[in-house]
Symmetry: C2
Subunit: 459 residues, 2 copies
């Protein structure tokens, strides 16, 4: 089954698998122990740290291994902020882009809930951070840390890290780069202070993250009693060894493989608008990750579409278009103003063939048609007062929204569409959709029966 969700977690690289098997024999003991098996494990750990540092262009003693990419992000942010915390003073400030991974945003929101200042910097329609707003945010007094991803995990847009780092340097604010999507593939521009990454994204095993803390960066260990360095006891050394072996291999293959995968992504970007005329390609078409493309398909739920593609033999990622289900990925699309339907993220693992991509493109239109049929549709009836009424009673999220989107063009600008629904979630989704699509949500009326009717004026 072609697997096109490398951005979530690529299959283990063969170099990683070979290293894992060897390390099960030689690296099972605790590297902190002084006896023979411990010393062997320590040698493996040291060699892994040096190899990872070499790929990343940093010093070995700046690299620490964590139990996941999420943990690296969490401890990186917490350690950067805690180093600037002063008893009895306002908590230090944090600035993040609006399209960071949820691990960054969750940590940021926890900081805000504790009373810490948080600036969320907007992005443009391609998902690229607004540099003027970024400069303003990091210049605010008391800001102690800024976070920017190297490239967006949902739409592939590469962020202007060099310019953002320059602004941070000018303001004296350390920059944490979440390099989860690019580590191993492409180098992060200079100027950052902390860097987080996740092994499973580059073809290493799950359960290994990397946190790089450059020397001279003020940093406080985020967990009590944990010394500078890796997680004691919790380090799965065979997995770390496998992760670094995969990192080296991916890094060596990157120049060639990135060009090849990028051409396949270009093919998808060219063909999808022809196959699905109402689909919308998301993210920057040029300044993007080589292996990732996302498009949005109207009038269909992403999850239903994912299942249809799964039945056709292709594993892709999709965010639900129900805002209430999950923070990811809708917060990215919402920040881009691109909240328009079910989205499909295709991220190609190493070795993806031209034939696999063509096969995917061949089944895509049928899968979309099948998903749309499966979703059900509204009964549309013009009612008194010139407004169009859509009966979506009995249909679940996101059908009320997608039917609204499909029919809004049936009324003139200024006209009203009334959506009858008995799905509570519509009370969140319909106003959110109306706002991002440029229409006006007028409110809701009770009825028919125990249902409610949401009113939207076409903008």
């Amino acid at each position: 089954m072609p697997f096109f969700d490398a951005a979530a977690g690529a299959p283990l690289h063969p170099a990683g698998r070979a290293a894992l098997l060897a390390a099960l024999d030689d690296g099972w003991a605790d590297p902190a122990k002084l006896y023979g098996p411990g010393r062997t494990a320590r040698l493996l750990l040291d060699a892994s740290r040096e190899a990872a540092a070499e790929v990343l262009g940093v010093r070995p003693d700046e690299v620490r291994f964590t139990p996941s990419g999420g943990a690296a992000v969490h401890w990186g942010i917490q350690g950067g902020l805690d180093a600037r915390k002063r008893t009895g003073r306002q908590l230090p400030g944090l600035a993040v882009s609006a399209v960071e991974h949820s691990s960054v945003l969750h940590t940021a929101h926890a900081h805000e809930a504790d009373g810490g200042p948080l600036a969320t910097v907007p992005v443009d329609g391609l998902g690229r951070v607004d540099l003027d707003a970024w400069r303003a945010a990091v210049s605010v007094g008391g800001t102690a840390l800024a976070c920017l991803q190297s490239a967006n995990h949902e739409v592939g847009t590469v962020q202007p890290v060099a310019e953002a780092a320059e602004a941070c340097a000018a303001a004296g604010v350390p920059l944490l780069v979440d390099a989860a999507q690019s580590a191993g593939r492409t180098a992060v521009p200079e100027g950052w202070s902390l860097l987080a990454a996740s092994a499973r994204k580059w073809g290493g095993p799950a359960g290994v993250g990397l946190l790089v803390v450059r020397r001279r960066v003020r940093f406080r260990e985020a967990l009590p009693g944990w010394q500078r360095g890796d997680v004691p006891g919790g380090l799965n050394l065979p997995a770390v060894v496998a992760a670094v072996a995969a990192l080296r291999a991916v890094h060596e293959e990157a120049a060639e493989e990135d060009v090849r995968l990028s051409a396949l992504v270009d093919r998808i970007r060219t063909r999808v608008p022809k196959l699905l005329p109402d689909a919308r390609l998301l993210g920057d078409p040029r300044d993007r990750l080589p292996h990732l493309v996302t498009f949005s398909v109207p009038y269909v739920d992403g999850e239903v579409l994912l299942n249809a593609l799964d039945r056709a033999g292709y594993a892709v990622s999709s965010g639900s278009s129900c805002t209430s289900d999950t923070l990811t990925p809708s917060h990215v699309l919402a920040a881009m103003g691109a909240f328009t339907g079910g989205n499909v993220r295709v991220s190609l693992p190493r070795g993806t063939t031209s034939e696999e991509v063509d096969g995917f493109l061949a089944v895509l239109p049928g899968a979309v048609a099948s998903a749309r049929a499966e979703g059900g549709s509204a009964t549309a009836s013009p009612s008194e007062g010139g407004r169009l009424t859509l009966n979506t009673l009995g249909l679940r999220c996101p059908i009320p929204v997608t039917e609204l989107a499909r029919h809004i063009g049936d009324v003139p600008v200024g006209g009203v569409v009334a959506v009858q629904t008995d799905d509570d979630v519509a009370a969140i989704d319909i106003p959110a959709w109306a706002h991002t699509a440029g229409h006006l949500y007028l409110g809701q009326e009770d009825g028919p029966g125990t249902a409610v009717t949401h009113l939207v004026r076409r903008g």
Copy 2:
């Protein structure tokens, strides 16, 4: 090389290794994903959770997998305390035994540093928690959580968990049991609310911990945005599958293997006092872990002895007798009043043979003699005023302390030993040793030269 440090981390059980290899093929994808490989991974995860729950005698939805035993302890304590935190009120109280694992004590000390009440309950000379003091501690108003290990990791003494749980129930305080040393081997008595364990201790891979939160226990997720359940994204599923396969296998073998290993431990407990007349066996001789024994050898540094045994072909664990080096294991021995020299912890992995144990006992006296010779010794000279002066200039920790211990009997009760040293660490070690050994530390004098002289009156 016979490996006698199972308590730190046993080699991967063959059943775990086989499961790991299979799960690398079938369990590499994210179990949260809806496509084929994700569903396969989810089936493996569900089956692992059910199997772990069965071994532990709990419900599957009470079991969560964490990146390490330390993380399970940390999040268990934090989640238990946070559930009782109230804005604007005094932080909830925590009670722990004095001989908990450092992961418990570090978390407890962080709680105390934040202003939270902490009660540390003393133990007797065998390392068993004082139940009267325990009852008093958990009855203090505002106490929200109590932590007791199932058995001590350093000396093997089994804690009276059933009685401690009864006291907790009477006081309405949830009990967290750190079952790191016993999980898989022996069941924990009923009555606990939270349970933490570490896969590497039972023969699973490193990097997998277990946290069980019983239903109806008030608990708040300790990490922002993490739902009830496992660590999202960070879960190394092949490692989890391997951990649970090892747990099942160990559990099935336990009845037979525990009897066999316990007999080997009894042999060590019988033979060591004959081989090393000045050694002292630590911990409860009967109510103990089946596979673990610790003894203390005077006038020698544990680390030097460990190295001597390593050269003789045996991997054991040892705590340094330098208090400044590490919290572990000296806090356990100090709490027991057994801070008397280098200690050797022998913990036998499954399959340890009678011949291996005999081989260890055969090399032990030679290793101790070699370690003592290597350590160097003081020049003792009676000086004016009737006090005995020990010149340990140029000798590193713990020689100043061990030489003091060796010579204190050379002066009458009330007499003074003066230790000349140029090792700064002695300023911590000598008062600590004097206190635990029942002597009186009188203070230090400058000289000779840039060195200092510590004065101890024999008690």
